[in-house]
Symmetry: C2
Subunit: 257 residues, 2 copies
Amino acid sequence: MNKLILVTNDDSIHSKGIKELIEVAQLFGDVVVVAPDKPQSGMGHAITISEPLRLFPFKGFNNAEAFSCSGTPVDCVKLAVFEVLKRKPDLLLSGVNHGENSSTNVLYSGTMSAAIEGAMEGIPSIGFSLADFNADADFSATKKIAENIIPSVLKNGLPTNTTLNVNVPKLTFNDLKGIKVCSQAHAYWEDKFDSRKDQFGRPYYWLTGEFSDIDQRKDTDLFYLKQGYATIVPTHFDLTNYTAIDALKHLNHEGEF
Amino acid sequence: MNKLILVTNDDSIHSKGIKELIEVAQLFGDVVVVAPDKPQSGMGHAITISEPLRLFPFKGFNNAEAFSCSGTPVDCVKLAVFEVLKRKPDLLLSGVNHGENSSTNVLYSGTMSAAIEGAMEGIPSIGFSLADFNADADFSATKKIAENIIPSVLKNGLPTNTTLNVNVPKLTFNDLKGIKVCSQAHAYWEDKFDSRKDQFGRPYYWLTGEFSDIDQRKDTDLFYLKQGYATIVPTHFDLTNYTAIDALKHLNHEGEF
């Protein structure tokens, strides 16, 4: 039986990145696409619970059954797994995202949240992101990296409850220094809001900000991306800070208060 | 100088849970509220990047400056920190959520994502959730637990990059067995979609499902909540599975491909 590969993203089913990822996926199996009908960047792990979801067949990919979904990237994965597909897929690929999803951006990323949801459903899952926001970005290096990684994941699986966060710098394949498996950098957004007035004089705010890398470690995704490597961060969904459990045991309380 | 305490949630500024949390917060400092103007449950770590945000003064809490925000819980934290507040708050409290946010639900939870965002901004942050979806739920036990935890966090701070995920079972304070600092259980949703037809015969889907606790460990939040304890999971935003870095080093690649 052919491998069954689910493809999704957050930039929408109309983006170049998903089209390119589908082409790679088709080298390795039968592809089904369930992806958002509109851009869903920054949606994180959001799910739609107060509105119904829409799902319509989408014609636009050669030899790939595809559906556009009105919901978030995580909604797409859930609808694919529990409504569209007849069996659990052998692999979930999310992306290729137009823009980097390194460091703490993994938390905001719809692309990576879809891959994390895949891992939660027990599906080997990989998220791909290219450090180029251009709608017509050149995905050729990312595609070659995907062609390197996918066969290994199909053959060996992935560590339990773990997905891969793959980021590729904006370089030609020949200029890439290599691939590094590494950790998520600690960085954050020094946010600013652009405050304006509407036609009634009432304020509205646009989120903006500058990215601030405060991590001094030399083995993080941000560090290696700056050096010209593609990076792979094994990413899981256990957010427990185990080392902190002991430090907080003074909060334990037994019996009567 | 009085402590400055930021309060937010995901059930909206109109919910009972946030009103009760504000009452507790006011025991310990000056309170500013920035909370969603409508329910934002399940929004995870979503941020609003393609639309502007609205922020309006909200009159409805005694002695607490308050603003309702058109965005997600994480938007509320960002707007509060970078637009509303004159200085970084000493504490961020999120909740009290109407409904449990234990185990992997932390990823979907707007309440906990707001607390995680607070930790990302370097603010000691705590999320509170009560295992009762009732709009008129009894928050008295949760309030007493908050009164126990808050002074300790204000005095000692929290481990670096770590927030607290506090869950309280639906019990009276006297029936609680105590408080346990523990780990996030691994559970997942066995989702189902309720498929219906609209007036034009086109399908739409409601997300539904059953929660499935597959974690055999006896030191998780789900385990202790079932025993009648309130639970505190130290929760961080480094999603790296460090133990998997070695297992995946065969994916490392240096130099030319």
